[in-house]
Subunit: 400 residues, 2 copies
């Protein structure tokens, strides 16, 4: 790719993201919706001005891990651990219900093959942690009890999603279901989540120490980005999604970092401030690229809008994708408003669903019609909940 055409692509993405986000906010929608629409407008769905290049994709990936890093940075581990019971309930329900309901719709109602039905279930299972987190941030709810429950649930959901993907992939290439492998992944991921924040914290203390003796400016941006990249890579190696590495690194650098023997690991306040003020511009630069990227990935033009099967399948699937994620929230003891908000937060599927759908299409598991339906379901689950949440949030007092 020529340098100048990459520059113009990146420029268009950044400006469109900003303009659509400003418009969205003025129309009382969360800004992330604007960024997604920017991608839909620029991409194959509408004008087709931008095709996703590898560099744009990789910069988007940096964007999402940095967003999770920022969320981790502002997370209070104590309250995250405190809400773990509810998070687990939300995550497990939000994982199994859509998967099973999606499977039933495909296998029993639309008589699709076993493998296809399993993949349809998988596609509508995983929550997009990025979209969830961004919407909560847009509504200033990321530090609320709702935010902590959803965050914990989304992390668990993401891990379950990756394990399901690995299982289904092995099944699709005829390897059968290997529960030993799944157990191994689960162990690794658990180990990662226990150890990563401690290791990251130790490294950050090293950076803090180095910061005072370094003779060249710019230590914080390069070393913190390196730290985040390292944990993203480590997460991948341990079998977890990369963005969880960013989250773990953020947790470790959080001011409210808390581990049983954590007293010795305290960095000074000034250091945390410097990290925040210097990382913010970098995070603000990269994250919009991710959401535009998700919008670009939706090829809504490919959908055969005249096919009744597409409409019917979409309708059924969307219903179970929506209800399946909402069900879990009825099992936790919170007021009505919080339950709705938690439920809605888990609905967006975004890029995770698209990865599943893409895999299914490339592997010949999904026909064009089914793929189109899935893209439509993903688009609806991604776009509607943020709007509903914003609306609900402005009516909190009426609902309770």
């Amino acid at each position: 790719m020529e340098t100048h055409s990459f520059f113009i692509d990146l420029l268009i993405i950044l400006i469109a993201a900003r303009i659509f986000a400003e418009l969205a906010v003025r129309m009382y929608a969360p800004s992330v919706i604007g960024e997604l629409f920017a991608g839909i407008v620029l991409g194959p769905s509408l004008f087709g001005w931008i095709t996703i290049s590898e560099t744009i994709r990789l910069m988007a990936e940096i964007g999402i891990i940095l967003l999770l890093f920022e969320v981790g940075l502002e997370t209070n581990i104590k309250s995250l651990i405190h809400s773990r019971g509810k998070s687990v309930v939300i995550a497990l329900c939000g994982f199994f219900f859509p998967f099973i309901l999606g499977f039933i719709v495909s296998y029993n109602i639309f008589s699709l093959s076993l493998l296809t039905s399993l993949f349809v279930g998988g596609t509508i299972t995983a929550t997009s942690i990025g979209i969830t987190v961004r919407v909560l941030t847009d509504l200033n709810l990321e530090q609320s009890r709702i935010g902590q429950i959803v965050l914990g649930a989304a992390v668990i959901d993401d891990v379950l999603g990756v394990m399901l993907l690995a299982l289904l992939y092995e099944f699709s290439i005829g390897g059968g279901i290997n529960l030993l492998n799944v157990g191994k992944v689960f162990l690794f991921v658990s180990a990662f989540f226990v150890l990563a924040p401690v290791v990251a914290r130790l490294i950050s203390l090293l950076i803090n120490r180095f910061d005072s003796i370094s003779e060249i400016p710019g230590l914080i941006p390069t070393s913190i980005i390196s730290l985040v990249l390292f944990f993203a890579w480590l997460a991948h190696v341990m079998g977890a999604p990369e963005l969880l590495g960013g989250f773990a690194a953020g947790l470790a650098l959080s001011r409210r970092f808390f581990i049983p023997f954590g007293i010795a690991l305290h960095a000074d306040e000034g250091f945390a401030d410097r990290i925040e003020s210097q990382m913010k511009p970098i995070i603000q630069l990269f994250t919009p690229i991710f959401f535009v990227f998700v919008g670009l990935s939706l090829a809504l033009r490919d959908i055969d809008w005249s096919s009744p099967t597409v409409w019917l399948f979409t309708l059924f699937l969307f219903s179970v994708a929506f209800v399946g994620k909402m069900l879990g929230s009825t099992f936790i003891r919170e007021n009505r408003f919080s339950r709705y908000m938690v439920g809605l937060s888990m609905v967006p599927r975004g890029e995770v669903g698209l990865i599943f759908a893409e895999l299914g299409r490339e592997g010949g598991i999904f026909s064009n019609e089914i793929y189109a339906s899935l893209v439509l379901v993903i688009a609806l689950t991604t776009i509607l909940p943020p709007l509903l949440m914003k609306w609900l949030n402005s009516r909190e007092s009426i609902i309770n």
Copy 2:
């Protein structure tokens, strides 16, 4: 490219750049030398751990235009214009002497073909503005009179280099020399330099205005990066090197921006401060990638160290590449120290020379031996002057 292997590559580049830069500074060398060595060590010259991917290359390109943007931001246009006479002398001499001497060495002494000789001359002609600027910054000289002369000269040199490249390229594909085209490029580039800062200034005032009414954080990083990308793209379209677009955008946003009717274009001081503090971390993140990239591009292992021709040709060529750039400084009225510093500043060839050499090799114009010599000459001109300048700078009082 897989996401996690990109992450690990970027991570290694960032960390190696930092470690080698810190070592360099402790060994009294400029930090840029450390970053270049990081690239040499990681790349095909030594361990071959990192191969340049498109994404790394494009991020390096962002790095260099951002560096030029930063330099522009800190440049005082008045003193740049003030030293234009000396800059022109330095640029023209530094352009013609190496070109002609390089041609003579190749054509008359080593009896190479006409086309090859012309390309050898071209390869050792263009100064690497990035390395020059970085060394001056490392020595805190970028705002000095020396800095202003060199900066002006390097910009002119870069424009001349691109015009020469265009000319030689046409000549090499049998198109003959088209002076009309060269004149057109010259006109376009001049127009760009007169108009770009004014336009960029107007846009920045728009951003400033928008900054106060925007409801979403992060306007400055995305909009300033967009501005820089836009002018880099525009520079390319007008036939100038992309990095000069970054420089023009920086000039326009400079606190010391000055144009005849400039009074109406003043933005508030606070805005300039916000731009500087928010752009710094982004610039510090991207620029080391560029210098490591230059080091990675040097394939020193490919050189046949046992060939006497390589050694002899390298020796001759390095001498004329060095002396050719130094000659111009004898024509300007400055003290001995300043003349040496200005001359040495213009010696580094870096990535510009490598682009020429690569083009020559791909086009079959350079044999392996000649290519190897050129890479060696470029490496020497890139690495020696920064060391000499640092040493000279510490002895300023003795020399004068």
